[in-house]
């Protein structure tokens, strides 16, 4: 076929001046995870210290409470913002809502393990423990130990998982970028300093 008579769409380029300057449905399938108590919908809105709130997309209210407490213990507020100030907990909930079911199950199983361990040692929920008890429980599964007993292996795997998630959620936030890492909030014009050593040390 020859359509020479048609006028094809044409793109014109000019040298302009340079510009100056669903998740809850997924949870339902996981309701039977042992020890979870069977959430079928994501939890209620979560209040943040600055007065704002966020709406969980995946975790139940109790799970959010537990997850957030662990995040706070891993990256607490100091002179720089903590994980709860930067919304790392909200990021974790969102990323879980989009994760594949194996990752979701693994995380939920970890939360469940934490509650079971807390009940076993202290007959209380983790969030009801004194802070030193929470820290002690977290420390026994932390990566400070090169090996863990079989009894703690699920907890240790969970610690690694939630630590990775909270680090990523925290340090990729705008607030941590600015207040913890000292980087500009937005991309801006920068120059390259390069190596200025003349003595051959090439250190910091």
């Amino acid at each position: 076929m020859n359509n020479d008579e048609d006028t094809p769409k044409v793109q014109n380029l000019t040298r302009r001046g340079v510009i100056a300057a669903g998740a809850a449905a997924g949870v339902a399938t996981l309701a039977k995870v042992p020890g979870l108590g069977g959430p079928s919908v994501a939890g209620a809105a979560v209040a943040v210290g600055d007065g704002s709130t966020w709406q969980p997309k995946f975790l139940s209210s109790q799970q959010v409470e537990l997850m957030s407490r662990i995040c706070d213990l891993i990256l607490p507020a100091t002179e720089t913002p903590g994980a709860l100030d930067t919304g790392a907990d909200e990021y974790i909930d969102l990323s879980l809502s989009l994760a594949d079911s194996a990752d979701q199950l693994r995380f939920l199983g970890g939360l469940s393990w934490m509650e079971e361990r807390s009940a076993e040692l202290h007959e209380k929920r983790f969030v009801e423990l004194a802070q030193d008890q929470q820290i002690a429980l977290l420390r026994e599964i932390s990566d400070e130990h090169p090996m863990h007993s079989a009894e703690l292996s699920t907890g240790a795997a969970f610690f690694t998982d939630i630590k990775r998630r909270v680090l990523f959620g925290h340090f990729t936030s705008k607030k941590a970028r600015v207040e913890a890492l000292g980087l500009p909030a937005e991309v801006r014009r920068e120059s390259l300093r390069g190596c200025t050593h003349e003595d051959g040390t090439h250190r910091r």
Binding site: N3, T14, V18, S95, F171, L192, H202, R204
Partner: protein
């Protein structure tokens, strides 16, 4: 009366832009067909997107349909949720491979093609490459020498803007450079160590990124991800440079979404135009011209030619589709540099690395490597972690957290880019059993590495480790397995140049031996790939060939 253009150019990327610029500025009336979509600088460029601007902070988002339709393109580091629409839709545009011979074919889908997302490294080849066959007896020489191409390299470098340092090396000829970007401290430590202990040079990457403002384009402001575009026009790409010049002549028509199926011929030895599909409507169209220039990218041009006549248009040599090459890619070594522990990055967003030129099988007898022919270079750099070293640091709590910003890690990374020899059986053909969305036969790509490349990988790892040890690196790790061919995104060949019509498809001006008004000015004409990034050489060849084309056209020799 249907329009007969002076020339049709198929493809709007790095080489298509050059040939159209030369022809339109010489007064020829040019139609350019681009299979990708239209380009809009104000809408398409998103280079200042930061991780916190994205819902999953840059982690692949399973809700992103663009990425879901690009399982091959996603292999490329530059294809992300921010710019996936610069890349082709793999579902609509499939290809096939042979068992055990995977190939990653990374393709653009936009006006400008891969010149929008390229890595911008711009090195000259030398007569170690152009005359490689004469040196070691393998394959064929190019039909031209470095001296023939040097003036065109200079003109392209001055136009596109290449920053770099002159080093005076035969194997990596100097160019016409803008001021170089600076080394980081760790890179200086590597440079000094290998100079002192191994007598090897290291230079800053030669990159098509402006370090000075010029020609309405601003110097780089070091925001980082060039592959998302650049509103300050600081790196070279065709839509912001060559295509603008074409448009200014008034002799230029650019049609996007035009998927060329084949070259229309009359008799056996003359191109009359091309046939294409309007991808937005599915309508089939034909357009006529006195000259046809394919710049669709090496394999896409081979596909068009294979589809244009039984056995391939102008293929008396049986070379069409053969001798496909790429670079050995993704093998290398990394190590941490203890003297830089805790350093802050001096060059956090420098869009460039450093380069160790080929030091194997040169004239100096001490460089001979009996295990393999030809050679490789290393693309290198120092990376200073921002916070991600915290993954590997044990612990939690206030002290753990507060130590993170000051406990950065310096990693020196050396990646070998090695020459893959031209082999007749590394080839593409039309797959008789599969068609794409437009019912066009797809390419069957059958390419893999050979013994020479495997031997080269061993050397890349051994020499790389020795250099990291020489500078005091620790925790040295190797990346041994080369990626499938195509992964270097330097695929070239398939219609090689040569003096003899019996053994080559194109002459030294990238003109078909058999069809005198047909040219292929992308990377298809490559005879050997050498070990440096190919785009600068492609553009220089296109400039040289296009001036020849204009001259011949003016004399009526192509009529």
């Amino acid at each position: 009366m249907a329009t007969v253009y002076d020339a049709i150019v198929v493809g709007s990327g790095a080489t298509g832009g050059w040939t159209a610029k030369v022809m339109t500025e010489a007064g020829m009336d040019v139609l350019m067909l681009e299979a990708g979509r239209a380009f809009d600088e104000s809408r398409d460029y998103r280079e200042h997107t930061l991780p916190h601007d994205l819902p999953l902070r840059g982690q692949d988002d399973p809700r992103n349909e663009l990425l879901a339709r690009r399982p091959v393109q996603s292999y490329c580091y530059a294809c992300t949720e921010v710019n996936a629409d610069f890349f082709i839709d793999d579902i609509d545009n499939p290809y096939t491979t042979a068992p055990g011979r995977d190939f990653n074919w990374i393709r653009g889908n936009v006006v400008g093609g891969r010149s929008l997302m390229w890595a911008r490294q711009s090195y000259r080849m030398s007569d170690y490459d152009f005359k490689a066959a004469s040196r070691d007896g393998y394959g064929q020489d190019w039909p031209l020498s470095y001296a023939d191409l040097a003036p065109y390299y200079s003109r392209v470098e001055r136009y596109i803007g290449v920053s770099g340092r002159k080093e005076g090396l035969d194997v990596l000829p100097d160019g016409d450079f803008l001021p170089p970007m600076p080394f980081s401290c760790g890179e200086m430590a590597l440079k000094e160590a290998i100079a002192e202990k191994m007598n090897r040079p290291l230079t800053i990457g030669r990159t098509a990124v402006l370090t000075e403002s010029r020609d309405g384009r601003l110097a780089c402001h070091y925001c980082g991800p060039c592959h998302y575009g650049c509103r300050t026009r600081s790196y070279f790409n065709s839509p912001q440079t060559t295509l603008v010049d074409c448009q200014a002549t008034g002799n230029f028509t650019l049609v996007p979404d035009a998927m060329v199926s084949h070259v229309i011929t009359s008799g056996e030895n003359r191109a009359e135009g091309v046939a294409y599909f309007d991808k937005t409507t599915g309508a089939a169209r034909e357009v006529r011209a006195k000259v046809v220039v394919l710049c669709a990218s090496a394999l896409a041009s081979a596909r068009i030619l294979l589809s244009s006549a039984e056995g391939g248009l102008g293929n008396s040599s049986d070379v069409l589709g053969r001798y496909v090459m790429d670079h050995i890619y993704s093998t290398g070594v990394s190590g941490t540099l203890p003297s830089r522990a805790g350093a802050r990055a001096e060059n956090a967003n420098r869009p460039n690395g450093v380069y160790i030129p080929r030091f194997q099988n040169l004239d100096d007898p001490s460089t001979k490597k009996p295990a393999f022919l030809r050679g490789y270079g290393y693309q290198c750099g120092e990376g200073i972690s921002s916070w991600d070293h915290a993954y590997a640091a044990a612990g939690f709590g206030a002290a753990y957290k507060d130590a993170i910003p000051s406990s950065t890690v310096s990693t020196i990374r050396l990646s070998g880019f090695g020459e893959i020899l031209p082999r007749k059986d590394n080839r593409v053909t039309l797959d008789p059993n599969k068609v794409d969305k437009w019912d066009l036969p797809v390419l069957r790509i059958e390419c893999s590495l050979g013994d020479n490349e495997i031997a080269m990988v061993d050397d890349i790892l051994a020499e790389g480790r020795a250099m990291l040890e020489a500078m005091g690196c620790e925790n040295i790790t190797e990346r041994r397995d080369p990626a499938p061919m195509g992964s270097g995104i330097h695929e070239v060949g398939g219609a090689r140049m040569g003096k003899e019509p019996q053994t080559s498809y194109l002459n030294e001006y990238q003109q078909s031996h058999d069809v005198s008004n047909l040219f292929v000015m992308d990377g298809a004409g490559y005879v050997t790939i050498g070990c440096v990034n190919p785009t600068l050489t492609m553009m220089s060849l296109a400039l040289r060939s296009s001036e020849y084309l204009v001259d011949q056209f003016g004399r009526g020799a192509l009529a």
